[in-house]
């Protein structure tokens, strides 16, 4: 694993987004990346009817030692908000979106600028000591990957930058396995969406490269803004990737 073993603990990550953004896929890629990197990780998705714009949550546990717990995460220490509407339109199974966030937790929000919140919520987040990071994930996905469908890749890169797990090399392998290696079918809806994505990118190799470029751009964004919770070792071969 990249980073200092003593400082990397366990992370309980709650991802919230809306249908079609690939929240569940992102949780699989993150979780699998941690496993590839030698850590331990489990996840469970939570969604209602599979349709675009409907609320979706997915919960990922990340640790360096054995994980026993299962099920959704009620008290996360990391929140990933894939779409501002989770906050502004209440498109979330958890209301308010930060409910259960542990003290000094991290909130990573996909937005180019701060999302308007009511004063009570801002006060509560402040009293929790929450660290709120805004990452323009969709913007990065369009600029670097050429499609907003890679928003979830940017979010994976961002959390990798923040918690140092998985390291970029493992994350790249995880992205590769998602599209080329032994596939995992999350649901029928996701399978049909995959076909759309594959048509957009003629070749799968190109698909992986573009997706990973988005991952890396978001990862670098997090590092450049000093969001890293733990020191992330620079991996030379990744500089070329």
């Amino acid at each position: 694993m990249a980073g200092d073993k003593k400082t990397v603990k366990r992370y309980n990550v709650r991802m919230a987004g809306i249908g079609g953004q690939g929240v569940v896929t992102a949780s699989h890629i993150l979780s699998n990346g941690v496993i590839i990197g030698g850590g331990e990780s489990t996840l469970v998705p939570f969604f209602g009817s599979e349709k675009r714009m409907a609320p979706v949550e997915s919960y990922v546990r990340v640790a360096e030692d054995q994980i026993y717990e299962i099920g959704e995460i009620i008290y996360p220490n990391i929140l990933m908000i894939f779409h501002p509407q989770v906050i502004t339109h209440g498109k979330s199974y958890t209301m308010p979106f930060y409910w259960g966030l542990k003290k000094n937790g991290v909130v990573i929000i996909n937005s180019e600028k701060p999302v308007p919140m009511i004063q009570d919520q801002m006060d509560e987040l402040k009293s929790l000591g929450a660290k709120i990071y805004y990452i323009p994930a969709t913007k990065l996905a369009i600029e670097v990957g050429g499609t907003d469908l890679a928003t979830n890749m940017a979010m994976c890169g961002a959390i990798s930058g923040v918690i140092g797990m998985p390291d970029l090399k493992s994350l790249e392998q995880s992205v590769r396995e998602r599209f080329i290696g032994k596939g995992f079918v999350v649901s029928g809806g996701t399978a049909s969406l995959d076909n759309v994505i594959e048509k957009k990118f003629a070749k799968k190799a190109e698909l992986v490269a573009k997706n990973f470029a988005v991952v890396k751009a978001a990862h670098d964004f997090a590092i450049e803004h000093g969001w890293a919770e733990t020191p992330v070792a620079a991996i030379p071969e990744m500089v070329a990737a």
């Binding site: 979780s31 699998n32 496993i35 489990t42 996840l43 469970v44 998705p45 939570f46 994980i67 026993y68 717990e69 299962i70 099920g71 959704e72 995460i73 009620i74 008290y75 995992f184």
Partner: protein, 416 residues
């Protein structure tokens, strides 16, 4: 005259001449079940070398069924069971099952399983929550019919308001059916228990259906580490002529388990008949203990056996309890855990012994009614040791370790 000697011209139904000739039969490589070899159950269940894989609970069940030498699977889709039976469909396509189809609905499915099992083949079905409720009338008749089969139950909320998450109150309905009932904790159990279920249920002295329950989504849709043996081995086939009730074929007529004509004449005789038959069903369940002990390594597992506070749990609540034990131990608390693997037969003697020294007993559950607490209180002495109220979560919510710790450490709402 010459017409009869002319070569016959083959046409398709539209009248077009068929000119192509059928290709010679290919000598195909053996695949699916044909490429597997039958091994001793002890070898497959206990001794075969295994490799660690990281798969979902549904995939774990698939790998279990792949090695189970199943003849037929019948089911009807319902979330969160559907993904597992979709995987079983792939197995059918790969040649691991002889037949597989979707029934009309659960009542029809469970009836079809009864028929298939009576014909002597190895049967699999699976359902969840409301589907189990719909099939329950037929399932309740399986044990009396002495019909071995494995039913996978992926627990899901059954009460309104509707939800698809894992509340396991439905298992309380299974307790009284006479079926053997195993409760899997995680993906590994969901691989192991169905294989054990087929072998135990088909033992001559048992001859009963086995339900393997698991808490849906948290296990079926999530990945965990599963140790698997190679895929080229499978269980021996069902030995239907060795069972308590013979299969139905041209020589064995269907058994009559109703108030048969000679018996109908006296209600008293029919009551006696029913009573002795019921006693035999439950006795058969008791006789499964020795096989469950052999292949499950006991009906219970105990962690920290001397601790003064003992958690008793089954299914997903065990995983949450393991984490609670880990965190509580870190904080210096003296906490142990009893995992109940088999709900029917119930580990009565095992629990009395494992809990004899305990001062406090905590029974966390994923349902409102607390059926496991009821079961435990029914068999242990000094029931005042059981902390009231669980903790319990319901409606499909996961149990946060934080809540369990309140009970274990005697803080917050769990102060007792």
């Amino acid at each position: 005259m010459a017409e009869g000697l002319e070569e016959e011209v083959k046409t398709n139904p539209q009248g077009d001449v068929i000119t192509a000739t059928a290709p010679p039969p290919k000598l195909e490589e053996k695949k699916g079940a044909a490429a597997q070899r039958v091994v001793d159950p002890d070898y497959l269940l206990l001794h075969a070398p295994r490799k660690k894989t990281f798969i979902t609970g549904s995939e774990a069940a698939k790998e279990s069924i792949r090695r189970a030498n199943v003849d037929i699977a019948i089911s009807y889709p319902i979330t969160p069971q559907s993904e597992t039976m979709q995987q079983v469909g792939y197995l059918y396509a790969e040649g691991y099952l002889k037949d597989y189809y979707r029934g009309e609905e659960e009542y029809g499915v469970m009836s079809a399983i009864a028929g298939a099992s009576r014909s002597g083949v190895r049967c699999l079905s699976a359902t969840a929550g409301p589907g189990l409720m719909r099939g329950l009338e037929v399932i309740s008749s399986w044990p009396g019919g002495r019909l071995p089969a494995v039913l996978l139950i992926m627990c899901r909320v059954i009460n309104a308001p509707l939800a698809i998450q894992p509340d396991n109150v439905e298992l309380s309905y299974m307790l009284s059916t006479g079926c053997i009932l195993l409760h899997a904790e995680n993906q590994q159990d969901f691989y192991d228990y169905p294989l054990v279920g087929f072998m135990v249920g088909e033992k001559p002295e048992v001859t009963l259906p086995v339900a393997v329950a698991v808490d849906g989504f948290f296990v079926t849709h999530a990945r965990g580490w599963v140790r698997l043996p190679e895929a080229d081995i499978k269980l021996p086939p069902r030995q239907c002529y060795h069972e308590a009730v013979p299969m139905m074929d041209n020589e064995n007529p269907p058994i009559r388990i109703s108030r048969d004509a000679p018996i109908q004449k006296s209600n008293f005789i029919s009551y006696q008949m029913h009573a002795s038959w019921q006693q035999e069903i439950w006795a058969a369940g008791e006789r499964s203990r020795k096989w469950l002990n052999r292949w499950l390594g006991g009906l219970i597992e105990v962690v920290n056996p001397t601790a003064k506070t003992m958690i008793v749990a089954s299914g997903a609540a065990v995983s949450q309890s393991r984490e609670a034990v880990r965190q509580a131990t870190e904080q210096g608390a003296d906490v142990g855990l009893v995992k109940i693997k088999s709900i029917r037969p119930f580990p009565t003697e095992e629990l009395i012994e494992a809990l004899d020294h305990a001062e406090r007993i905590i029974i966390p559950e994923f349902n409102y009614v607390g059926w496991l607490a009821r079961e435990v209180r029914n068999v242990i002495p000094r029931t005042e040791r059981v902390v009231p109220g669980g903790p319990r979560v319901f409606g499909g919510m996961s149990m946060p370790t934080e809540l369990l710790l309140e009970y274990v450490l005697g803080t917050g709402s769990g102060r007792h």
